[in-house]
């Protein structure tokens, strides 16, 4: 009898703890990134002192305050893009013409390809994008603190702190882009390379400044191991091309843009898509375990020919 009641007590305790754990988190999404303030202030200094000093001096503490005030002490489901207006005004800087790179479904690839402004300046390479890239945050209505426990997902509410930030940042980025605009799309993405509802479609295209833009260049690149889904001229890419042409832009589109292909190939060097054609000499030389092969043989051959030539001369 005793052991029965003990087990019942034990089981109900277990049940209660699991219940309370499930009920502990307010939202379904991950909480604010730990040490958020230190990270973003550090990033601000890193960007302005090292990555892109041409933007001049920015007051990094002031930037953090403006950013924070956009969403603290508010209902985390009621944050609007315009709440970040002051932050954007303080962190704005010019984006060099012909360097803008828009993208969908290939964030890490774009990050690698843009080379932190060396090749292109994607949104994540601007001060305002660099500041918040890959981070998470939200507040709460009842206190000035950040919620490190959980944050609302897009499904729970659209007007959350993070999504509204990126809407504002995307709008701003598009408005300040000029010259030749580039868009990198993932041909293997589920649902198509160009999401008809997405940041590029809903916040960037509508905010491009037509009079400042000379051309829009679309690149469609498939994952190396991925399915060959969309390409230029078909499906969603055609929808995008038509939309941009209707808006009056000069549009070109390229499949398998080579520089990006090479970058993808770094992780798949033995894939057939990444094989060098046989006329590329340098690629042919395989591993050498301290053998004298290569140039030694060449030296012998040249010496031999030289000797032959000399003997021919003598005769």
């Amino acid at each position: 009898m005793n052991s029965f009641f003990l087990s019942l007590l034990f089981l109900s305790l277990l049940f209660m703890t699991s219940l309370s754990e499930g009920q502990g988190k307010k939202w379904k999404g991950e909480g604010t990134t730990p040490n958020l303030e230190s990270i973003v202030i550090g990033r601000c200094y890193e960007y302005t002192r090292i990555v892109n000093p041409s933007v001049g001096e920015k007051n990094c503490s002031e930037l953090w305050e403006a950013f924070k005030n956009a969403f603290i002490k508010k209902d985390p489901c009621n944050i609007l893009p315009t709440d970040y207006e002051l932050f954007i005004n303080l962190s704005l800087h010019t984006i060099p013409p012909n360097k803008s790179l828009f993208w969908e479904n290939n964030q890490l690839l774009v990050n690698s390809f843009s080379g932190r402004t060396r090749r292109y300046t994607a949104l994540g390479d601007t001060l305002f994008g660099f500041f918040a890239d890959l981070l998470n945050w939200c507040g709460q209505a009842t206190s000035p603190g950040l919620d490190y426990d959980s944050c609302p997902t897009t499904e729970e509410c659209e007007n959350n702190a993070v999504d509204s930030f990126w809407r504002m940042a995307s709008i701003t980025y598009a408005q300040h882009s000029s010259g030749v605009i580039h868009v990198l799309l993932n041909g293997s993405a589920e649902g198509g390379a160009y999401p008809v509802k997405g940041f590029f479609a809903d916040y960037e295209i509508p905010n491009l400044q037509k009079d400042k833009i000379s051309k829009i260049v679309i690149w469609v690149v498939d994952d190396i191991e991925g399915p060959d889904g969309d390409s230029c001229g078909i499906h969603t890419v055609k929808i995008l091309e038509d939309r941009l042409k209707t808006l009056g832009y000069d549009v070109t589109c390229t499949d398998d843009y080579k520089p990006v292909m090479f970058l993808l190939c770094v992780d798949h060097p033995d894939h057939s898509k990444c094989a060098f054609s046989s006329s590329a000499p340098a690629a042919q030389r395989g591993p050498i375990s301290s053998d004298r092969g290569g140039s030694w043989n060449k030296l012998m051959f040249v010496t031999f020919v030289g000797l032959l030539f000399r003997s021919a001369l003598v005769y």
Binding site: P259, L263, V266, P269, K273, C274, A283, I288, D291
Partner: protein, 225 residues
């Protein structure tokens, strides 16, 4: 879990208010201890005269770690510091170059960090060298030659794999059978370290081709042209 503010304090204490030409390895000992972390075997990637390429590589391919991808190297990369006996103790205006004095805070830091990085290496280690420079791919006066090689532990390191890279369209100043590479081989074998050499390691060459997509050496089979 690392205590970042404490790590900053120990870095600061290493050089603040001190004569910037008189920094010792002891000054950095507390920092080195706080910030060091183990490195998985077969992942250490050393380099000499390939700064840009090697770091583009580790950024794209997370299978390898250079010193600059460890916590210590990451924090210090591209920044500099030096102290001064007079207030405020940190000199924001100028710092001694290596030619002015060798025991300056930056040189001593990188020498120590390189030594520790080499000591921590295990399994197969990789080295990316530049086969397009006239002075030779391997120089005993480089950090790799003068500090890292001698601090590799033959009991932990099973082999040293050289990736000798040539610039795309650049001079092939040296090959795996070249003069300085043979010297490197001898040095390693003297220390009981197995040596292999590969020219133009494919994944890295593919990365070089990102910047030279139309070069003859970068022609892909699958290319439509």
């Amino acid at each position: 879990d690392k205590d970042c503010p404490k790590i900053w304090e120990s870095l600061k204490q290493a050089f603040i208010y001190k004569n910037p030409c008189n920094i010792t390895t002891e000054d950095y000992q507390p920092l080195m201890e706080l910030a060091s972390h183990p490195i998985p075997c077969n992942k250490s990637l050393f380099w000499s005269k390939t700064n840009d390429l090697v770091h583009r590589y580790t950024k794209s391919n997370h299978n390898f770690l250079t010193l600059e991808d460890t916590l210590l190297g990451y924090m210090a990369d591209r920044v500099s510091w030096c102290g001064d006996p007079s207030a405020p103790g940190i000199n924001y205006e100028s710092c001694p170059k290596r030619t002015e004095c060798e025991s300056n805070p930056i040189s001593v830091f990188w020498k120590m960090a390189s030594k520790m990085f080499a000591e921590a290496a295990c399994g197969v280690v990789q080295v990316m060298l530049n086969g397009s420079i006239e002075a030779g791919a391997f120089r005993s006066s480089s950090i790799f030659g003068s500090i890292e090689i001698s601090n590799l532990n033959p009991d932990k390191v099973s082999a040293v794999q050289i990736w000798l890279m040539h610039d795309i369209g650049g001079p092939q100043s040296e090959s795996c059978s070249g003069y300085s590479i043979r010297r490197l081989k001898d040095t390693l074998e003297e220390r009981n370290l197995k040596f292999t050499c590969e020219e133009n390691h494919r994944p890295v060459q593919l990365l070089q081709c990102v910047n030279n997509p139309d070069h003859a050496d970068c022609r892909l089979c699958s290319s439509k042209t």
